[in-house]
């Protein structure tokens, strides 16, 4: 074996591989703006904002919805805002490097949209006090004045979607494809189940936990297994449309998550809980521009439009739509609480006494499934 050839070839391939896997290219859009005539002297004329994404901007789900938020902010703030984004940034040491680069490029407000970016964001906030760092889905609630978190109470929209599913099911058995049974997902399953049972007390929810955040084949396999067990509505816990394909093959109703697939699955579509990030981004950037920005740990909901439901499919009749609309109003004006006792867990033990409401803190670490989930 010619060792030199091997070495050179190996190095070449390694180089190829390295360039191949790093695709976190930045794209700067919106022309560099000059100070608008007549701008007030106290507020900054323009601001540079940057987004760090864990996935590609066309993932049809999570990252795409954030990027829509970024473009919404561009549209709203026009020439006052210059945006940059970095996509496919892995949750690892690369994040710190990416943040450094973005700060050096003069970005004054940085949004990171994946859970695993939290620690690096907090560390950077301490290092660069004049830059604002905002982290989605995080739990790093800290006193750091230039660091904030943002996410939302998606369980409200899940409850409403549950109503549509509860009306749809004839077998009184709904299948939920769950990624991991962590508190966030358990909260969603519980809210969904309570929603379904609110209109159909006999409704039960069967879950499979596929133990992966991203494996579309397994998501479909999970849905297939549930269908074999007799469920007649499929619900997504992750955002791949694959479970919808399983439902479509058997002509069963489908509740999506995180992306509006109503146009792609017209015959089986019920609805889906969705996120709207744009207004939050606009608000953060605008207050930063005006010098009135204040640190907050934002938790959005149906009321402020952060969470909303995708358009209903034709399987959802008008009476059900009205019912959902009415419930939505009650949730928004605070007259209805989803996690209100009496609630039992799926082993039959009472978890919440009659009249009591699960506290926000307890919801964040909920580890029991409500009655009717198996």
């Amino acid at each position: 074996m010619d060792r030199r050839t091997l070495l050179i070839g190996g190095l070449g391939l390694a180089a190829l591989a390295t360039t191949g896997c790093v695709t976190n290219k930045g794209a700067t859009s919106a022309a560099p703006a000059t100070a608008a005539p007549g701008a007030t002297s106290t507020a900054a004329a323009t601001i540079k904002a940057a987004w760090i994404y864990v996935g590609p901007i066309n993932d049809g789900g999570w990252t795409q919805s954030h990027d829509e938020g970024r473009r919404f902010a561009e549209k709203e703030l026009g020439s006052k805002l210059i945006t940059t984004y970095k996509e496919n940034v892995p949750e690892g040491p690369e994040v710190a490097q990416t943040i450094e680069t973005l700060v050096k490029d003069g970005n004054k407000i940085i949004f990171a949209t994946s859970f695993g970016f939290g620690e690096a964001m907090l560390a950077a906030a301490k290092k660069y006090p004049d830059v604002k760092f905002l982290h989605a889905t995080g739990v790093w609630h800290s006193e750091q004045p230039n660091f904030g978190t943002y996410y939302g109470a998606t369980e409200e929209a899940k409850y409403l979607a549950g109503i549509a599913a509860g009306k749809e099911t004839k077998a009184n058995l709904i299948g939920f494809v769950a990624p991991f049974l962590i508190p966030e997902v358990i909260r969603h399953i519980n809210a969904f189940t309570l929603g379904a049972q609110s209109v159909n007390p006999a409704a039960k929810v069967k879950i499979v936990e596929i133990k992966s955040w991203f494996d579309p084949t397994k998501e479909r396999q999970g849905a297939d297994s549930l269908i074999t067990q007799g469920v007649d509505v499929i619900v997504n816990g992750g955002d791949s449309p694959a479970p919808g394909e399983a439902a479509k093959a058997k002509n069963l109703g489908w509740v999506g998550y995180d992306s509006d697939q109503s146009a792609n699955f017209p015959d089986i579509w019920l609805t889906a809980p969705l996120y709207r990030w744009g207004p939050y981004y606009v608000n953060q950037i605008r207050t930063a521009l005006e010098g009135t920005w204040k640190k907050e740990d934002y938790y959005g909901n149906l009321k402020d439009g952060f969470n909303y439901l995708a358009p209903f499919g034709k399987r959802v009749d008008q009476a059900t739509r009205d019912l959902i609309e009415a419930k939505k109003k009650e949730i928004i004006d605070g007259t209805f609480q989803i996690f209100k006792g009496p609630l039992k867990d799926n082993k039959g033990a009472e978890r919440v006494a009659a009249g009591a409401v699960v506290s926000a803190d307890d919801l964040q670490k909920i580890d029991w499934l409500v009655e009717g989930v198996s």
């Binding site: 074996m1 010619d2 050839t5 091997l6 050179i8 070839g9 190996g10 070449g12 391939l13 390694a14 190829l16 591989a17 191949g20 896997c21 790093v22 695709t23 996935g55 590609p56 901007i57 066309n58 993932d59 049809g60 795409q64 496919n88 892995p90 299948g175 069967k206 499979v208 936990e209 596929i210 133990k211 992966s212 991203f214 494996d215 579309p216 084949t217 397994k218 998501e219 479909r220 396999q221 999970g222 297939d224 297994s225 549930l226 074999t228 067990q229 791949s240 449309p241 694959a242 394909e245 093959a249 146009a263 792609n264 699955f265 198996s374």
Partner: protein, 318 residues
């Protein structure tokens, strides 16, 4: 009868085993020539993304679009494999390194995702491989769902298993191929063209991995998603060992692995509490058991890997 638990598992074994079968069958051809290609995952994703764009953009009747999609996936799979062939056969790069590089280059955060981004693939593809009710026999008990209600891809894979077995063990070319994989210098002395044989079979392996990819993007999950194969290229590699480099055994293994993946979820849905991690790890455990058994001399010598697997061939170095 056709709704029973066992039937559900068998039907799903065939459906989810098909991509594994294509990829593993291709890898059998490649490894039989003495080339180990760990880039299966990358080649599958390349086939998947190209199949997706053909289905999304090409006009015409479904049979035509899907036919072109298969050919395009084979072509791009073969081209991806060509990188590996050039690196390992011509440049004699370490095969493991080159194969890994190929998976990274073409894989989840690489070329396939880049192309999907450029082509703006995000909706379910308009032309998909769905189950065909052959001769209206899908309703027959047991054999109906298994034999007469599969996608075209599954039928194609059966043809390829038959052709592959015949080629490997019943033809002169297959004999030559095995000779090259066992002892390239002897084959060379016999007057066989070792380099050409290895190139052809590495490319053929890539082409089949490409079809394996479109099983995901045009049948199972018919919407492009970055990295959608989610590690099944590696299962295919394990399958080649598990199937002793034989097409028919590989087919049985593919369906066994497919059944196990569904079994863990179906048992869960039935409320039977077995940690899914245990069932999910069985394919790998079984592969290790086979490897141990083979290397411990428990099985006969002829069942094991091509002798020259993973080694470069250099004429002067005989």
């Amino acid at each position: 009868m056709n709704d029973s638990f066992l039937m559900a598992i068998l039907v799903s074994a065939l459906f989810y085993g098909t991509p594994l079968l294509f990829a593993a069958l291709g890898e059998v051809l490649t490894e039989r020539s003495g080339v180990l290609n760990l880039g299966v995952e990358g080649m599958m994703l390349m086939g998947a993304v190209v199949g997706s764009v053909v289905s999304a953009r090409l006009g015409g009747p479904s049979w035509f679009v899907l036919g072109v999609a298969i050919l395009a996936a084979m072509l791009v799979g073969a081209l991806t494999a060509l990188l590996h062939a050039f690196a390992t056969i011509t440049l004699r790069v370490e095969q493991t390194v080159s194969g890994l590089a190929l998976t990274i280059l073409a894989g989840a955060a690489g070329l396939s995702s880049y192309l999907a981004n450029v082509w703006q693939l995000r909706d379910p593809v308009p032309h998909q491989f769905t189950r065909i009710d052959v001769l209206g026999l899908a309703g027959l008990p047991v054999v109906g769902p298994l034999l007469f209600h599969q996608t075209f891809l599954t039928y194609l894979s059966w043809v390829l298993v038959a052709v592959g077995s015949w080629y490997l063990f019943r033809t002169r070319a297959g004999l030559n191929l095995r000779a090259v994989g066992e002892s390239p210098s002897t084959a060379d002395a016999m007057g066989l063209n070792v380099v050409r044989t290895r190139y052809v079979h590495t490319l053929a392996g890539g082409a089949l991995a490409g079809i394996g990819g479109i099983c995901f993007s045009l049948s199972i999950v018919p919407t492009w998603q970055d990295g959608m194969t989610a590690g099944r290229g590696w299962i295919a590699l394990a399958l080649v060992i598990f199937g002793f480099w034989r097409p028919v055994w590989v087919m049985l293994g593919a369906y066994l692995f497919g059944a196990l993946a569904s079994l863990s979820l179906t048992l869960q849905a039935q409320g039977i509490d077995i940690a899914p991690e245990i069932l999910d790890s069985i394919p790998y455990v079984m592969t290790i058991v086979v490897l141990v058994a083979v290397s411990a001399g428990w099985s006969s010598r002829r069942l094991s890997a091509p002798d020259a697997l993973g080694t470069a061939f250099e004429r002067e170095a005989r």
